[in-house]
Symmetry: C2
Subunit: 212 residues, 2 copies
């Protein structure tokens, strides 16, 4: 099993390759991916080598082959159905996020405890939490997104795992974890901003001390 950073690089390669393909390119050199994917050419070749993807010396790699191989590794055969639990502002924004389609992701349903929010009209139904387990079983859902409040996050995770979810992207501002085999990816938006603030301050300081 490969690591997170490696997989994120593969996803970037895939996006760039699809763009190049749509522009009519047939072949690509490691160097062409360097800028667009933000990696070194050593790393591109190493990554492909690890996946047993072979290019031609002097001829580069065939884009179609690369895309196919990457899709196999990334497990992107069929459309990936995903649910969202917590239909607040961020949850609703993600339900309508139109970049998912291009990546083979489809948000198929939302879930919420608030009866006011429920609806079966519209493209994506919003259902009560009680329906979660049934829906997941009926539709063979593996992955869900948590966009509930900090206080509800832990119990929401528990309910999702209980209902059979195997992978979770958590946007609630609290680090979730589990003893079960469920994969959890915590994204803390505030921390991402604070992280930037730190580096902005740090570079300012080094500049000032360089001047002095």
């Amino acid at each position: 099993m490969l690591n997170r950073e490696f997989i994120l690089r593969l996803l970037r390669y895939k996006d760039v390759l699809n763009k190049l393909k749509s522009l009519g390119f047939v072949k690509v050199f490691a160097d062409n991916l360097v800028d667009a994917a933000g990696v070194s050419s050593s790393q591109v070749r190493k990554d492909f080598s690890l996946l047993r993807i072979m290019g031609n010396k002097r001829g580069g790699y065939r884009i179609d082959d690369l895309i196919e191989e990457l899709n196999v590794v990334l497990g992107k055969k069929e459309l990936n159905k995903v649910i969202i639990v917590g239909c607040g502002k961020i949850g609703m924004a993600l339900m309508k996020y139109n970049y998912f389609e291009k990546e083979g992701i489809k948000i198929v349903a939302g879930f919420d405890v608030d009866p006011e929010k429920l609806t079966k009209e519209g493209e994506i139904p919003i259902l009560p939490l009680e329906n979660l387990k049934g829906y997941i079983k009926d539709n063979n859902i593996k992955v869900g997104i948590i966009t509930v409040s900090e206080t509800a996050a832990a119990q929401t995770l528990e309910a999702m795992i209980n209902a059979g979810i195997k992978g979770v992207l958590n946007f609630a501002p609290i680090r979730l974890k589990t003893e079960s085999s469920c994969i959890i990816n915590n994204v803390n938006i505030a921390h991402e901003i604070e992280n930037i603030i730190y580096f902005v301050n740090a570079t300012e300081k080094t500049k000032k001390s360089a001047k002095a």
Copy 2:
């Protein structure tokens, strides 16, 4: 200058410590942070040691001291004012995201090219992009969030850097980079989900092959 993962750990420590403090705790042991922050106790002690934060053998660390030191390192003296460029669904959701306040972050304005979206009413004004440079100068803004479309992202970044922005959190699904000293943090939501999908598939496969 410290690295990204280190800073993210410090941010997690800070959140946990503030919670403990609000519960009335005065002291904390490295072990208390292990579960909540998702790190090893070795790492907690190592991290504090690197920051020259000293505890008492057998007595642990004083929570107040830790919080203060962390705030110094993280550069969190005053409220951090942040702008958002791109007032679509995700941008608007972030403008109203109420967890920022607790972290000392305030979204002070939105910017958009669409005249329909502009408003000076409401808590947070939405202004035309032409006002960006002036606003940033007048209000001493350093950090901005990009929530425009993929196609507009690169030119939006350019405009922001031009206007004096020093740090950017980018949610547009394209990797932004710059020759300038501006810090850029790319968050690709689709990739985060695809990353989970990979690991869910991978663990399923290893389980099946274990059975066979």
